[in-house]
Amino acid sequence: MLYAQSIVSGLLIGGVYGLIAVGLSTVFGVMKIINFAHGTIMMVGMFVVYYAWRALGVTPYVSLLFVVPLLFLFGVAVQLVLVERVIDAPPDQQLILTMGLSLFLLGGAQLLWGADFRTVDVPYGNAAFDLAGVSVSVPRLVAFVAAGALAGGLFWLLRRTDLGRSIRAVAEQPDAAAAVGINLPWTRALTFGIATGCVGVAGTLLTPFYYVTPQVGEPFTLIAFVVVALGGLGNPAGAFVGGLLVGAIEGLGGALLPGSTKQLLIFIVFLLVLVVRPQGLFGRRVAL
């Protein structure tokens, strides 16, 4: 029963991992850039949610209304101002640039808000119900369902809309896409914005049951890498499934391993996947 409980808790948070990883994977699919600042951008969103709740009493889910547009615009700006300048640079340099952005945001958050742990105290934060002997946390379930729905929406957008088709075209053949009149910088900026918007949703969904601190984002970046590595870089559908898998592994790790070693299992899986199967479990670029 302990294992069932751990796996269920893990799967629920795994949905959020999946959503975070879908953004990372999409950006990689289109720009061939690993966005190391993905988790720290989520952290910025979580602080917006925290201060909206603290100062104005806005409950986290309502914050989505402004957190998502805010992070979308931030992502568009990051792409246009920073990433666009290194779009043809070697991959190492691109990675370093996003690492720099991550350090800047982390340091800026520490300067502005200090390194304390904060929590958004909402009445439904600890709500849970019993399902066949397994306790299911309500905010985690909400996060899971919403993350799944949004990831589904993103797939629909990529497959069925003109914007999605142009994004996929840029991912597939940038030169040909430009030749048929697709604005490359703008499409890339929208892609980056969509990814950061998704991560804004993920961050918001986490706040009712997760602490907020400048350091909160980095582990999520690493987890998203693991997820994306499992699912295959540039394969958003694989990324979501990978998220569930990593959530379950983490849940099991928490039950099997002592202390704070549960992350260990994730890093080991990560190393193994990177080394043995860098194209991911499901192969590269199925959906994008």
Partner: protein, 342 residues
């Protein structure tokens, strides 16, 4: 080797600048206040570490984002063995040997499975993070409490412990000079050319007879061992280590940034970068009154400026871009049987 007029000039200016800075430190050191000296020791330690990283990250082109793994192995081996009565110098050697093995294993595995570029960077990061978690939970090495080194009053070179900060400063200056001399020798030696060749294009290097795997492994092991020596110094200097610090991302980042700023894969770049970075960092700390985060903001801005405007670092300002039609590496005569190359 490539004896054009420009390639002699830039490095000389850089060497002059770095030499002047080192001399200034050496002369003014006895009169330095405690705080200033701590700042200088830290800066020189990271200049040393940056030079160590440069061997594998710069020359061999393997961008490691997890060199804290080797730093931590050196720091922990010295600290833990010291707790069991082993002389720190011996601990330093054992730590360097462990790190060399780890570095060699990393190179062999990444070569065997073709882990390159960003994937290599991420896997080194995962390696350091794995060690961080393991050491934070491993009772034998003090788990979350870290390792405290016993201090017996009195200065002694044999015990690697000193009453004042000054000997530590001399020691780390000596280490930085030694590793720079080593890199300078490597830069002129054919092995340095092999490393640069495999950085630029592994297939071409291999076709010219460079045994890529062998030299990448040497570079990785050497860089790891030297980094571990820095970790051992850190243990003996601060007398306390804990896994979140010595295996932390901050250490890895602090090793990489000076090299990026100064110029990747050059003899003087890492030192020039450290020289330029230290005052900026101190300025930021003063400006933000020592609030945590100031360093990171500086790092972030430095990275963005360097990557976007100075992709070849400060050394790139001294030395004109190599012409496209001129190969970056002089032709290499096959030193090994063709069959040895992959």
């Amino acid at each position: 080797m490539i004896a054009n007029s420009w390639s002699r000039h830039g490095p000389r200016v850089a060497a002059l600048l770095v030499g002047a800075a080192a001399l200034t430190i050496l002369v003014t050191a006895p009169g330095m206040g405690g705080y200033l000296m701590t700042v200088v020791i830290t800066a020189v330690l990271f200049a040393y570490l940056a030079q160590c990283w440069n061997i594998v990250g710069g020359y061999a082109g393997r961008f490691s984002f997890g060199h804290a793994a080797f730093f931590g192995v050196g720091a922990y081996t010295t600290g833990v063995l010291g707790q069991h009565g082993v002389n720190p110098w011996l601990g330093l050697l054992v730590g360097a040997a462990f790190a060399a093995l780890l570095g060699a294993a990393l190179a062999v595995v990444s070569f065997r499975f073709g882990v390159r570029g960003p994937y290599f960077a991420l896997s080194t990061l995962a390696l350091a993070e794995t060690l961080r978690v393991v050491f934070t939970n491993w009772e034998f090495v003090g788990a979350a409490r870290g390792v405290m080194v016993d201090f017996s009053p009195g200065s002694s070179l044999a015990a690697f412990q000193f009453d004042s900060r000054l000997p530590y400063l001399y020691l780390i200056l000596g280490l930085a000079a030694a590793v720079t001399a080593l890199v300078a020798a490597l830069d002129r030696h054919r092995v340095g050319l092999y490393l640069r060749a495999l950085r630029e294009d592994e297939t071409v290097a291999a076709s010219l007879g460079v045994d890529c795997q062998r030299y990448a492994t040497y570079a990785s092991a050497l860089s790891a061992a030297l980094t571990a020596v820095g970790g051992a110094f850190y243990t003996q200097w601060l007398l306390f280590i804990e896994a979140p610090t010595v295996y932390g991302v901050e250490i890895s980042v602090a090793m990489v940034i000076p090299v990026l700023l100064g110029g990747v894969g050059t003899v003087w770049g890492p030192l020039l970068g450290s020289l330029a970075l230290a005052p900026i960092q101190e300025g930021a700390r003063a400006l933000f009154r020592d609030r945590p985060g100031a360093d990171l903001v500086v790092y972030g801005i430095v990275i963005a400026v360097v990557i976007i405007y100075l992709p070849r670092g400060i050394m790139g300002l001294f030395t004109p871009r190599p012409k496209v039609d001129q190969p970056p590496v002089a032709p290499v005569t096959p030193p090994v049987p063709v069959g040895a190359a992959r």
